[in-house]
């Protein structure tokens, strides 16, 4: 599992596309911006068609979840998502999972309670995925720095 993070509009998706040569590699790009993650970990067989999966804009999922669930439920849901995809990836050496998430942890404390919850949960969720991922990258205006 490969986690790619960095600030907004820093060229994270573009870096993933270029690094993995996705224009010539069959892959499934799931952009979760503005929406909720479908129950992918129970519907994997139906949804995946390619051995290469990219989940882009993962922070958007938490924005939706913080409106419905408490923090510990979100952590559990997220960990089960990671574990399940990690297991899927490990079952076949051809498989790859890349998850892209925007780092928005460095501004002023948000005024709205839900935005604070969203920011907190996203920070913890990123720590969860970093502990599982074998590779982590920070992208700064198209330049990647491997930190794990």
């Amino acid at each position: 599992m490969h986690f790619v993070t960095g600030g907004a509009f820093n060229g994270k998706s573009q870096w993933v596309k270029e690094y993995y040569k996705l224009n010539e590699t069959p892959h499934q790009w799931i952009s979760v911006y503005g929406g909720e993650l479908p129950n992918l970990w129970t519907e994997k067989e139906a949804i995946y068609q390619q051995p290469f999966m990219v989940f882009d804009g993962i922070e958007s999922v938490f924005k939706v979840w913080v409106q419905k669930y408490d923090v510990s439920d979100i952590r559990d849901m997220w960990r089960s998502f990671i574990d399940s995809w990690n297991e899927w990836e490990q079952n076949d050496p051809q498989r790859n999972v890349v998850i892209i998430g925007t780092d928005f942890s460095k501004g002023i404390v948000p005024l709205q309670a839900l935005d604070r919850k969203w920011r907190d949960v996203t920070g913890w969720a990123y720590q969860d995925i970093v502990s599982v991922a074998e590779r982590v990258e920070i992208v700064w205006y198209g330049i990647a720095r491997q930190i794990k």
Partner: protein, 199 residues
């Protein structure tokens, strides 16, 4: 082969010391040039100031930067250029070092130059192209151009259309400039971290 340092990109948070670092870097490059080319005319240091003294706070910020530049005992030739970089087409010599501080302010000024037009995607594209062309023009007419900009990309998304469009444009400009640059630095708490190129 000696590297021709044509563009250096410097970014950092508010009060990270990015301007001071960029000024010191400009002076260092100019002095190195003079030391290696003693027979020729001195390399001139230019400062492109994008900030406009529109209110008391801005006046104080500008004065703070001017004081710092005066204290450094280096003669800067200052160009007040809140918009329209291309107007500086003929003012630099190929041996000069130019510092632009800062891109965020320049983009901000350009953004509002025609009222509500910032909502129009073709205006946005034109504006970014104008800025890049202006920068390319300066790069090709001087020895080294150093551009200072800000890190504004680490906050939760805002629902504010204006902020999102501005950030998207600035992000695209930064990506483009880092690609063009020979060197790119991220300044954290006064410490420059080299992200691209060699010292």
């Amino acid at each position: 082969m000696e590297e021709r340092l044509s563009l250096i990109f410097v970014s950092g948070g508010v009060r990270s010391g990015k301007s001071s670092f960029a000024e010191e870097l400009a002076i260092k490059i100019a002095r190195q040039y003079d030391a290696h080319n003693s027979s020729q005319s001195d390399c001139i240091l230019h400062y492109i100031a994008a900030g406009q003294a529109s209110d008391e706070e801005m006046k104080a910020r500008i004065a703070h930067h001017q004081r710092n530049r005066n204290e450094s005992k280096v003669n800067w030739k200052t160009w007040e250029q809140p918009i329209g970089l291309k107007r500086l087409e003929d003012v630099f010599d190929i041996t000069d070092v130019v510092l632009l501080d800062c891109l965020t302010t320049l983009l901000n000024n350009e953004f509002f130059r025609e009222g509500e037009k910032w909502r129009n995607p073709s205006f946005q594209a034109q504006l970014m192209e104008d800025i890049i062309e202006g920068i390319e023009m300066i790069v090709s007419s001087c020895q080294t151009l150093i551009i200072v900009s800000n890190e504004v990309f680490y906050e939760p998304y805002s629902d504010n259309e204006l902020t999102m469009i501005y950030k998207k444009m600035l992000g695209k400009l930064h990506q483009k400039l880092v690609r063009m640059a020979n060197r790119a630095y991220l300044v954290e708490v006064g410490i420059p971290i080299l992200m691209k190129g060699d010292h």
